[in-house]
């Protein structure tokens, strides 16, 4: 393990200096590669019988989730535990303002308890940025409104890299509710920075204005998004979109944008099917495709762990405390 890490560290093209991981938009390609390389080093930890390294021993991580989540929260929790950090989960569906307490009040209370890293999910865009501006602790954005979900995009990039051996030059189509998707935004930034050609596909009601200015191609035709693509990334369609008249019905969505076996016949023979989960089986993705040979949906989940270990490790390292020296994982 030590030797592998030394090699990958030497190959790193950037140094990590950021206290926080808030978005992919403001990261350089070098910083994104650094996270992916660091994740590569950590992947092996989860394959051991004893799945733990002492990298963050003595550090405290708080999962502060203002929105329900099982996968992302569990993934961060396991990542922190495998790095030997202490982790506390705080989940509140109640908007803190409704209690007369602001998000910043909550964070100041946690800071008074001397926590090192705050992993934040919130239904409102920009909350992690707001917290990062006021908190001494590192902040990792675990999804903020429709803004960004950087670790999801990083694990997607990691999975594509793993399966295809490269990202540059690949054609990736992101299909579905782009307007309300933080996953789509983070992936657009990450993929374009690493040289992929990105197409977004969905009905005009689910595409945000001027999205093409982010450097992506736009189509409303699913077949056009499928044809020639190396990766098809499906997004979860929310039932609320129907109520808001953004789609006439889920049935109509399935008929026009659902990916089934028939449409898969037009895809490249080595296409990857990705989905951030949870899948609405029979809406955006037919079960046979979700569970089929092209699907890498469970690899995404597995890789999420390594990517989140890397994220926690890097932001902790950037806090610049003297005891950081020599904290890189050694064989346990």
């Amino acid at each position: 393990m030590g030797a592998t890490l030394t090699t990958s560290r030497a190959a790193q093209t950037a140094r990590w200096t950021r206290k926080d991981l808030l978005d992919l938009r403001t990261l350089s390609a070098g910083e994104i590669r650094l996270i992916l390389q660091t994740a590569e080093s950590f992947r092996e930890v989860s394959l051991r019988p004893i799945k733990k390294v002492p990298a963050l021993r003595g550090r405290t991580v708080v999962n502060l989730f203002f929105e329900p989540s099982t996968r992302t929260r569990t993934s961060f929790e396991l990542a922190a535990k495998r790095l030997s950090a202490d982790i506390v989960n705080i989940t509140t569906q109640q908007s803190s303002l409704s209690k007369g307490e602001t998000v910043l009040d909550t964070v100041r209370n946690l800071e008074a308890l001397k926590v090192d890293i705050l992993v934040i999910r919130h239904a409102a865009a920009g909350v992690p940025h707001l917290v990062a501006k006021h908190a001494a602790a590192s902040v990792i954005n675990a999804g903020d409104g429709a803004h960004e979900h950087p670790t999801q995009a990083l694990l997607d990039l990691f999975t594509i890299q793993e399966k295809k051996g490269r990202i540059e030059g690949l054609r990736v189509s992101i299909i579905g509710d782009i307007a309300h998707s933080r996953v789509a935004r983070s992936n657009i930034w990450g993929l374009t920075k690493l040289g992929a050609q990105v197409t977004v596909c969905g009905p005009p009601t689910l595409l945000p204005p001027q999205i093409e200015q982010l450097g992506v191609r736009v189509t409303h035709q699913l077949d056009e998004a499928i044809r020639g693509s190396d990766v098809l990334m499906l997004l979860r369609i929310q039932h609320e979109r129907q109520e808001a008249m953004l789609i006439p019905s889920l049935r109509e969505y399935r008929l026009t944008y659902g990916l089934d076996q028939d449409r898969m016949s037009r895809a490249k023979p080595d296409v990857l099917i990705m989905h951030p989960g949870p899948v609405n089986r029979g809406v955006e993705l037919d079960s046979s495709v979700a569970d089929g040979p092209f699907s890498v949906i469970l690899d995404q989940v597995t890789n999420g762990l390594a990517v989140r270990m890397a994220a926690l490790y890097l932001v902790a390292g950037a806090q610049g405390k003297p005891e950081d020296a020599g904290m890189f994982p050694a064989d346990a």
Binding site: L97, L104, G126, H147, P208, Q210, Q213
Partner: protein
């Protein structure tokens, strides 16, 4: 009260066509004389060398928050902020708790303003009861109590039928209805302009059409009824063009623009800066240019601050939860100097007109002039002073501004209200 002679200043009084070196003599709270040179004759002398001496500004659009949200602003703190910004009269929007929709509420504002004696406060009454957009208020009672206009500001009057009736009935009183033009269904849930910034930040957008659709409708209703419609805080190019055409046709349409819409675009909300969260939202550069052109060619009648103070903790919330509005009275002049005078868009004289005589005329007030016999409401400006905006030093309780940290040119150095200050 003793005589006060303001000597050596550059006097700008657009209502009387004066723009040059004049002395100004004040006596008993009134303007007693204006001459190129006035001998002191025992009057106290105030040296105004290198300063502009202009009429006290009139703000057609101010939120004073009292009664109801005295933690955000009071009539007192709002008047103090007005004076700091060179305003000697503010028109108070009715979205208080309770709202200014009945005589008692109007009387309260008048009584409190008179007790303080800091600046003139002119209430604007609500168009509909409790600002619910359902039933008209008693217009005659509100105008009789001294309201200068009616508005449901904060909300639009969304119901076309009700707006038609309101415009017709208001003709009895010769005063305008001020519309907050925002089609509620098109704007629903939005927090920023719908465009590249909303897309990038994942925030819900408000399209320009939310405004222009209602501007278009209300121009049509004004033309149908012959009523007077005034549009608050214009934000987009389409609205300016609609109003330009309507004025050419002779419709009874007037409008205002805020300093922040003249100075900033939606890019100011980058990095989720809630200090730049205002309603209507800051829009694009072409919209901003259209507002500047509209102001230059007279399509836009005046500048109004839409001073909308909030507590610091409210503005420090996340972008979605933070309330709309900015503290505007104390930065208005300098922002206008930077945006309009410095680049040669407006002369000093026209800027002063847009801040004083023009809004006074819309409000039906004998204010915004330095005519002999008028109230001695005088603002002194150092046109070349450079200062850095620090909201913590605002007199307003709304200690937030999208201009925080900006260094601006042009400072109000003194404001006299009825000869005092």
């Amino acid at each position: 009260m003793a005589k006060l002679l303001i000597r050596g200043g550059h006097l700008i009084d657009p209502a009387n066509g004066r723009d040059g070196r004049f002395d100004l003599l004040l006596e008993r709270g009134k303007i007693a004389d204006v001459q190129p040179a006035i001998p002191a004759n025992g009057a106290r002398v105030l040296d105004a060398a290198n300063q502009l001496v202009v009429p006290g500004f009139v703000d057609l659009h101010t939120h004073l928050r009292q009664p109801g949200r005295e933690d955000k602003e009071t009539i007192e703190s709002g008047c103090l902020a007005a004076l700091r910004g060179g305003f000697t009269a503010v028109c108070a929007m009715p979205n208080t708790t309770p709202p200014t929709d009945h005589r008692g509420a109007v009387d309260f504002i008048h009584r409190e303003a008179q007790r303080l004696g800091l600046a003139a406060v002119h209430p604007i009454g609500a168009i509909t009861k409790d600002r619910q957009g359902k039933e008209l208020t008693d217009f005659g009672e509100l105008f009789g109590a001294g309201c200068i206009a009616l508005s449901d500001d904060g909300h639009p009057v969304a119901d076309a039928w009700l707006m038609r009736r309101a415009l017709e009935y208001a003709k009895v009183f010769g005063r305008p209805l001020i519309q907050h033009a925002e089609e509620p269904r098109l704007a629903a849930g939005g927090v920023v302009h719908e465009g590249l910034v909303s897309t990038t930040l994942g925030l819900r957008g408000i399209p320009s059409e939310a405004e222009s659709v209602l501007v278009s409708r209300d121009i049509a209703l004004a033309e149908l009824t012959g009523g007077w419609i005034h549009f608050a805080h214009l934000s987009c190019a389409q609205s300016v063009e609609l109003i330009r055409q309507a004025k050419r046709r002779g419709a009874r349409v007037t409008c205002e623009v805020t300093p922040h819409h003249l100075a900033l675009t939606h890019e100011a909300v980058e990095a989720f800066n809630a200090d730049a969260k205002v309603n209507p939202p800051l829009r694009t550069e072409p919209d901003r240019q259209a507002l500047l052109e509209g102001l230059q060619d007279g399509t836009i009648d005046c500048i109004a601050t839409d001073h909308a103070p909030h507590t610091e903790w409210e503005k420090a919330a996340d972008f979605d939860s933070a309330p709309f509005g900015t503290s505007g009275l104390e930065t208005a002049l300098a922002v206008c100097v930077e945006t309009l005078v410095a680049p040669g868009r407006l002369s000093w004289s026209r800027l002063i007109e847009k801040l004083s005589a023009a809004p006074a005329k819309l409000a039906g007030l004998a204010a915004g002039t330095l005519s002999v016999g008028a109230e001695a409401n005088v603002t002194f400006i150092d046109p070349s002073a450079r200062w850095t905006v620090d909201p913590q030093r605002f007199a307003s309780k709304g200690k937030h501004s999208p201009f925080a940290g900006c260094t601006l040119t042009g400072a109000v150095v003194r404001t006299l209200y009825r000869g005092v200050g």
